[in-house]
Symmetry: C2
Subunit: 190 residues, 2 copies
């Protein structure tokens, strides 16, 4: 998706040839016009697929998933919680995710009432790197026996190997910008 790649080239901040920060349009400040183009592109890539619900993970996936849902007949969005409050229903699907940036494991949770075996789920997330968060989401959804129609990723860092983990499960995975490497403050796309 050329518009997205250009935005990354222009505005992303690279550190240590490994970390890419897109705070000013994707993770902290949100570019709603761009998100609409992202939503349209996901619809194009999954045009043949039935989708009854979009599942994402807090925090950065929520806005992208919500705007994208508008291109899938306004299906409901459910986000997996990392920071479940005391008011959360106790009856949840739960999966473990390992965070490489924080070097610790955490749990993600979804209330059982929001996933059913009849659902056709489109999983959306902002980043795919090691694949740990995405595998956690796939695991959560699978516990409900819902079908996964596909996985849509905004930015994939291919050099961290996450794609293979997901492709091994036979899912269609679509990343709108695939980064091969980060070098000297520059981004090299696949």
């Amino acid at each position: 998706m050329e518009l997205l790649k250009n935005k990354i080239r222009k505005d992303a901040k690279i550190t240590e040839n490994r970390i890419i920060r897109v705070d000013n349009f994707l993770n902290h400040q949100l570019d709603i016009t761009l998100f609409n183009e992202i939503g349209k592109e996901f619809k194009r890539r999954f045009s043949g697929k039935e989708v009854t619900k979009i599942v994402t993970i807090e925090t950065s996936g929520i806005a992208i998933a919500s705007i994208t849902a508008q291109y899938f007949n306004n299906v409901p969005v459910v986000f997996a919680k990392k920071h479940a409050g005391m008011n959360m229903n106790r009856d949840v699907y739960e999966a473990k995710v390992y965070s490489y940036t924080k070097d610790q494991e955490y749990s993600i949770k979804v209330s059982k009432e929001f996933l059913s075996p009849n659902d056709k789920i489109l999983i959306i997330d902002d980043f795919l790197a090691s694949g740990s968060a995405l595998l956690g989401l796939v695991n959560l959804v699978s516990q409900s026996s819902a079908e996964i129609s596909g996985v849509g990723i905004v930015i994939e860092k291919s050099f961290q190997g996450g794609r293979k983990l997901v492709e091994d499960s036979g899912l269609q995975i679509e990343s709108l910008a695939i980064i091969d490497s980060l070098k000297d403050g520059q981004v090299f796309f696949k």
Copy 2:
């Protein structure tokens, strides 16, 4: 907003005559069709106001703010972070918020680069109860010298007194559903 009140009457879960859970359309599963109606209603209520940016707080405000931004010429959304990652810029505005449900204080942060003195800010949040989170947001935005065009709230629990704190600062505050009391599993609106 009658559509929202009906949704609350039908789907909200009340506990202890004090806590209202709206997990199945506002806080965990997100009703994108309803969010579009909410966005239109905020536009109607702030139709005379200039808005260059919408500011909200993670997590539950993000989707509402993002859909609402579409009715304000797709202005960018900035969300204050409760759980700032290690990759976050250190140059932030910061405010303290006291959580009554968790009985503890926490910090919310916004990178300074995303708020400027030229901005006209619409603050959006899902709930207004004690007003602590909202006052924190107002405090954050004020540190940047941006102007606050108004405050839009989806559900206000008027019996927890938060509105007075905000009105004292002279801001226009619009709540789409104002709950007077919760009794025997029922919701009584103002």
